[in-house]
């Protein structure tokens, strides 16, 4: 059989692809039972996880009575300490008023209510994260598979370059040892037996619940909000044009924090213009 150069290259390329695909498939479907305690395998996949925050729904709920379930759920799931002193505060998902959330988008004659209204803030999991660029130990980086800005606290040396680089204040340094300082403040600490605490001198932030996402679950704040039937938080894949987040962004007017810096934030805020 004559094989010309073109056909040979085609065959070589195809068999290479098959070999690669084959090993991946083998890994995925390799025989083996998942240990009973850990039944989940990754169910959800995305190229870039993103969140859409509908504060209108949240404010409506706040009018009925205070609800901080998303913040509480996050703190409990990740053993986030609460010291009371804002200087030591560890922030994963937190609140700030409009004027601090969108400082460059102030209008002199805007609704007075808007300025005071709280917004939910978390790590923006930027498309172009400045924190990752400055980290000298690669303790923080952008995950290629799903765009989560991850942190490896085993590697963090606490230099705080990332805190200086982040324009959103999403990162916090552990000035004190949480296990020691929380002992008297909350006897329930550490709350989650499946999640570690941190040592003194490392920087931490929201990770879009990577440990849950890797096991096919949505982030804790989203689940807590859904459980209250508020549904102010939506989590999904930004690269899929039919995804829940893309639908919300398409159908609503949304803004992001400090877009002029070119970081490409992936947390979107729906603005409806009703701030009564």
């Amino acid at each position: 059989m004559e094989v010309d150069r073109r056909a040979f290259l085609k065959i070589a390329g195809l068999s290479g692809l098959l070999a690669l695909g084959g090993t991946a498939a083998f890994k995925l479907f390799a025989p083996g039972e998942v240990d009973a305690a850990m039944e989940a395998v990754p169910l959800t996949e995305a190229k870039q996880w993103a969140m859409v925050v509908d504060m209108q729904k949240c404010w409506a709920k706040q009018k009925e009575g205070e609800c901080k379930d998303c913040i509480l759920a996050c703190d409990y799931v990740h053993n986030v300490p609460r010291y009371g002193d804002p200087k030591d505060a560890i922030k994963w998902i937190f609140e700030e008023p409009y004027e601090d959330t969108f400082p460059e988008q102030q209008r002199e004659f805007a609704d007075e209510n808007l300025k005071k209204l709280p917004f939910l803030l978390l790590c923006n999991h930027c498309t172009n994260p400045p924190c990752c660029r400055v980290c000298p130990t690669k303790a923080t980086w952008k995950r290629e598979k799903d765009g989560i800005v991850m942190q490896d606290l085993h590697r963090c040396i606490g230099c705080r370059f990332c805190m200086a680089a982040c324009p959103y204040g999403s990162r916090s340094l552990n000035w004190v040892d949480p296990l020691v300082e929380m002992k008297d403040r909350d006897p329930r600490f550490p709350y989650n037996p499946d999640y570690p605490v941190r040592s003194k001198g490392v920087v931490e932030k929201c990770t879009f619940c990577d440990q849950r996402v890797d096991r096919g679950m949505t982030p804790a704040c989203v689940v807590a909000c859904k459980k209250k039937n508020v549904n102010a938080l939506t989590f999904g894949d930004l690269t899929d044009k039919d995804s829940n987040v893309r639908k919300l962004i398409r159908e609503n007017y949304t803004i992001v924090r400090k877009p002029q810096l070119g970081t490409g934030p992936n947390v979107f805020y729906i603005m409806r213009g009703n701030y009564a």
Binding site: A30, L72, P193, D194
Partner: protein, 141 residues
């Protein structure tokens, strides 16, 4: 030699003090650690790898796990015995070996190693486990 007597007496006392730990502990070997297995660990019979290998190499396995789980996001370990385990010191290892003091610390103390795993990872107490169930019920179920 000026004050020779005093110097020699001083030297003898000094040497005695220096070697006193050897005299005191002569003939007494320090008790070898005997790590205890919990009933759950005994029932499971197998660890994620053969026991002898784990004894010598558990620290290397944990080092591999922390990199693959945290850095690569690959959280499942395909064990040679065909089982799949979630790669976690706190969730997987300490689930069976929930007696950290009798199982981990005993040997670590004997060998005088202070693994810094335990500055962040902790052995959950039954109280913590039950209180977590109620928190989970309240927010996440």
């Amino acid at each position: 030699m000026y004050d020779g007597g005093k110097i020699i007496v001083g030297l003898v006392i000094g040497l005695c003090l220096l070697f006193s730990p050897y005299f005191f502990n002569a003939g007494r070997a320090a008790k070898a650690p005997q790590p205890e297995l919990t009933p759950q660990a005994k029932k499971a019979k197998v660890c994620v790898a053969p026991t002898e290998w784990i004894k010598a190499n558990h620290m290397h396995l944990l080092d591999t796990w922390r990199n693959s789980a945290v850095r690569d996001g690959e959280r499942y370990y395909h064990s040679a015995n065909g089982k799949i385990y979630y790669e976690s010191l706190q969730t997987t290892c300490l689930d069976c070996h929930s007696n950290k003091a009798q199982f981990c610390d005993q040997c670590h103390n004997y060998m005088d190693v202070q693994p810094y795993c335990w500055t962040c990872h902790f052995a959950p107490t039954p109280k913590e486990k039950s209180q977590w169930k109620s928190i989970e019920e309240r927010f996440l179920k």
